[in-house]
C-alpha cells in the first residue's frame, strides 16, 4: 500500500495553519515567485511542458500544450482565468485550497501569469462560496500590499493584477467557454469550437488561458522543483499527485492525495477509506465526478496495455484499476475531476440515476436541443419510474434518448449528461427492466434519492 503524498494539500487541516500571508510566508510562501520573476518566461513554460502536468479540472489536457497554443502574435492582451467554479458533483478539493491555503493558489497563479505574459487574471469562484470569495479577496489584498500582485511586482517591470469574480449558481459556468461568457456579463451559454478556442478567441475575444485551481497549484510546485523532478512523481503520462475526493458509502469519506497511478481503486476504497459500511457490500463506483461512467463491482476489464515498450495483457476487476487518467480511460470511464462516488448494495440504480438526471436536467444551459430536451426527458423518465409506473421498455427508451445527445451539442455537457444513463443501462440494465417488479415486492428505500 502506498502512503499519501501531499504536495498540494500539504497544509490542509494542519493544526495552527491559517490562511493569512504571515503564516504562508513562515512556510516559505512567495519564495518561488521571487525566483520565478528573475527567470525567462519561456523557461517556466518549458518546465511545465517537461513536467507532463495534466489539467485537474476534468479533461486532463496537458497544461504545457495548452499554454503552447496561446496566440502570442495577435498583439491583444492575454488573460488568465482561474476556474474555481468547482461544481462537478462528487468533487471537493478546490474548496479546501481556497479556504485554507489561498496564497498557494495566488502564488501559482502569479507564476503562471508571469510565464505567459498575462497582465490581468480573474478567479471565477462559484457563487455558493461567499466566504471563499472573501478569503481570496483578502489574500489578494495582502499579496498586493506586499508587492506580490499588482504593479511592478517585486521591483521588476512586470505588472499583473487579480480580481475575484463570483458566479451565481449555474454548473455550466465550469465549462470554460460558458465561464468566459459569464465573466463577460452574459448567460453562461458555451461557445462553439472552432472558432472560439479560448487560447485564440477567449475573454473579450482575446487569447485566454483557463486553468483549474489545483492545476495552478501544481505549477507552483513545478516552478520550485523543476519539470523533470515533477515528472518522476506518479507514473509516465500521469505525472504528479492526484487528489481523490471520496464520498458516499465508505467508512472514511474525504480527500486523499496520492501519486497518480500508484494506487488502485481497491486500495483507495478498502484500505484508505476503510471499506464499506458495516454489513454492506460495495455495488458501484463513479470514479471521476458524476459525469464519469459508472463501474460495477464484479465486472472484469480485459485488454492489452502498454507497459514501458511492451504490450501486456490485463484482466482487472474494479479493485485492480490504477487511479490515473489513462487506466480509467482504458476501461471506458474517466479520472475526470477526481470525485469518487461510492454506492453500496442498499442503493437501487434506477433511483441513483434519477438523482443524477435531475442534476443534469436542471443544469443544461438550454442552447442545444438534444441536450436541453434529452436531459429533461431522461430525468422525467427516471423520476416517473421511481414515483409513478415503471415499464420494462423504459431501459431501452432511456438508452435511445441518451444515445442521441453526445456529438450533437456545442459543449461537452452533452457527453457529461448522457454518460451516466448510457453506463447505468449498460451495466445495470436488468435492474431497470425489473424495477416495476422490485417496487411491488421490496420495501421502499430507507434513503430517498429523488
Amino acid at each position: 500500500m502506498p502512503s499519501e503524498r501531499r504536495i498540494i494539500f500539504q497544509h490542509i487541516d494542519e493544526p495552527g495553519y491559517t490562511n493569512d500571508l504571515a503564516c504562508y510566508q513562515r512556510h516559505g510562501g512567495y519564495e518561488i515567485l521571487k525566483k520565478a520573476v528573475l527567470r525567462k518566461p519561456e523557461e517556466l513554460i518549458d518546465e511545465v511542458k517537461k513536467s507532463g502536468l495534466r489539467g485537474r479540472g476534468g479533461a486532463g489536457f496537458p497544461c504545457g500544450v495548452k499554454w503552447g497554443l496561446v496566440d502570442r502574435k495577435s498583439g491583444k492582451p492575454i488573460y488568465l482565468i482561474v476556474n474555481a467554479d468547482e461544481s462537478e458533483p462528487g468533487t471537493f478539493k478546490d474548496r479546501y485550497i481556497m479556504h485554507q491555503d489561498p496564497h498557494q493558489l495566488i502564488e501559482g497563479t502569479m507564476i503562471s501569469c508571469f510565464a505567459n505574459n498575462v497582465k490581468q487574471a480573474y478567479i471565477y469562484i462559484r457563487g455558493e462560496m461567499p466566504h471563499g470569495a472573501r478569503i481570496l479577496e483578502k489574500a489578494i489584498a495582502e499579496a498586493r500590499a506586499a508587492n506580490f500582485v499588482g504593479k511592478n511586482i517585486l521591483g521588476t517591470s512586470y505588472s499583473c493584477d487579480i480580481f475575484v469574480h463570483r458566479g451565481a449558481g449555474a454548473y455550466i459556468c465550469g465549462e470554460e467557454t460558458g465561464l468566459i461568457e459569464s465573466l463577460e456579463g452574459k448567460r453562461a451559454n458555451p461557445r462553439i469550437k472552432p472558432p472560439y478556442f479560448p487560447a485564440v478567441l477567449g475573454l473579450y475575444q482575446c487569447p485566454t488561458i483557463v486553468n483549474n485551481v489545483e492545476t495552478l497549484c501544481h505549477v507552483k510546485y513545478i516552478a520550485e522543483h523543476g519539470g523533470e523532478a515533477y515528472a518522476r512523481i506518479g507514473t509516465p503520462g500521469n505525472t504528479g499527485t492526484r487528489i481523490f475526493c471520496v464520498s458516499g458509502h465508505v467508512q472514511r469519506p474525504g480527500y486523499y492525495e496520492f501519486e497518480a497511478g500508484k494506487i488502485t481503486m481497491g486500495q483507495l476504497l478498502n484500505e484508505v477509506c476503510g471499506g464499506p459500511l458495516p454489513g454492506r457490500k460495495f455495488k458501484a463506483v463513479i470514479p471521476g465526478g458524476s459525469s464519469a461512467k459508472i463501474m460495477r463491482f464484479g465486472e472484469r476489464y480485459k485488454g492489452k496495455r502498454k507497459v514501458g515498450a511492451e504490450m501486456v495483457d490485463y484482466d482487472w476487476g474494479v479493485e485492480d484499476v490504477p487511479m490515473d487518467f489513462d487506466s480509467l480511460a482504458m476501461i471506458g470511464t474517466m479520472g475526470g475531476s477526481g470525485g469518487v462516488i461510492v454506492m453500496d448494495d442498499t442503493v437501487n440504480m434506477v433511483e441513483a440515476l434519477a438523482n443524477i438526471n435531475a442534476f443534469y436536467s436542471h443544469e443544461s444551459c438550454g442552447q442545444c436541443t438534444p441536450c436541453r430536451e434529452g436531459a429533461l426527458w431522461m430525468k422525467k423518465i427516471t423520476t416517473r419510474m421511481v414515483h409513478g409506473a415503471a415499464r420494462t421498455e423504459d431501459a431501452a427508451l432511456l438508452k435511445s434518448v441518451a444515445d442521441q445527445i453526445p456529438g450533437r451539442t456545442i459543449c461537452a455537457f452533452g457527453e457529461a449528461c448522457s454518460w451516466p444513463t448510457q453506463s447505468f443501462i449498460a451495466k445495470f440494465g436488468d435492474e431497470f427492466k425489473n424495477y416495476a417488479e422490485t417496487k411491488k415486492t421490496a420495501k421502499p428505500a430507507e434513503t430517498a434519492l429523488i
Binding site: 458533483p89 462528487g90 463570483r166 451565481a168 459569464s182 465573466l183 452574459k186 469519506p253 441513483a352 438523482n355
Partner: protein
C-alpha cells in the same frame, strides 16, 4: 433605487475591475441582492443604465442564474444539497426535517417569514454529506439531530428579536 451608500461605493469600485462595463453585471446583481434581499424590478433598468447596456441584457442574466431571486424570501435561507453524495447520506431526510421544523415546504417562505428552504445542487463538500448552506455558512454532516439543533438555533434567534 434606494441603495446603501456602501453598496453604491462597492458598485463603482467593482466596475473598474473590467475593461468592459458589462462584465460587472453579475457583481452588481450580487451587491444589490445583498443590500435589498432580492432583485427588485427597478434594479434591471438601473443596472442597464449604469453599465450602458440594454435592460434585456440584465434581465436575461437574472433569469438564467439560480442564485438571483426576484422576490423576497425568509429571513434565513436554508439551502439543502440534493445531489447524489448528499442524497446517499440522507439529504432528502434532512430537508424534510427542516420542512417539518418550520412547517413549510421547499421553495416557500415560512408563514412567520423566518425561513425559506430550498434544495440546491452539489455544494462541493460531498465528503461531509449531507451538507446545508444557511445564508453564507456551510454546515456539514447535517443528520436529523443536527437539523433539529440548527432549527432550534434559528427559532431562538427569531424569538429573541420579538
Amino acid at each position: 433605487m434606494n441603495l446603501k451608500p456602501e453598496t453604491l461605493k462597492s458598485i463603482d469600485e467593482v466596475i473598474t475591475h473590467y475593461p468592459s462595463k458589462r462584465s460587472a453585471t453579475l457583481p452588481l446583481l450580487h451587491l444589490i441582492q445583498e443590500d435589498v434581499g432580492f432583485i427588485p424590478e427597478e434594479a434591471i433598468p438601473w443596472i442597464a443604465a449604469k453599465l450602458e447596456i440594454q435592460p434585456i441584457n440584465v434581465y436575461e442574466v437574472v433569469t438564467f442564474y439560480p442564485m438571483f431571486r426576484r422576490q423576497p424570501i425568509g429571513r434565513r435561507h436554508i439551502k439543502v444539497c440534493r445531489t447524489l453524495s448528499c442524497a446517499l447520506m440522507g439529504g432528502y431526510k434532512t430537508c424534510a426535517a427542516f420542512e417539518r421544523e418550520f412547517n413549510t415546504h421547499r421553495g416557500e417562505v415560512s408563514a412567520d417569514g423566518e425561513v425559506t428552504i430550498d434544495f440546491v445542487e452539489c455544494l462541493a463538500s460531498c465528503g461531509t454529506a449531507p451538507v446545508v448552506l444557511i445564508d453564507d455558512d456551510l454546515h456539514e454532516k447535517v443528520d436529523l439531530a443536527k437539523a433539529k439543533q440548527l432549527s432550534d438555533q434559528i427559532k431562538k434567534e427569531a424569538a429573541s428579536r420579538r
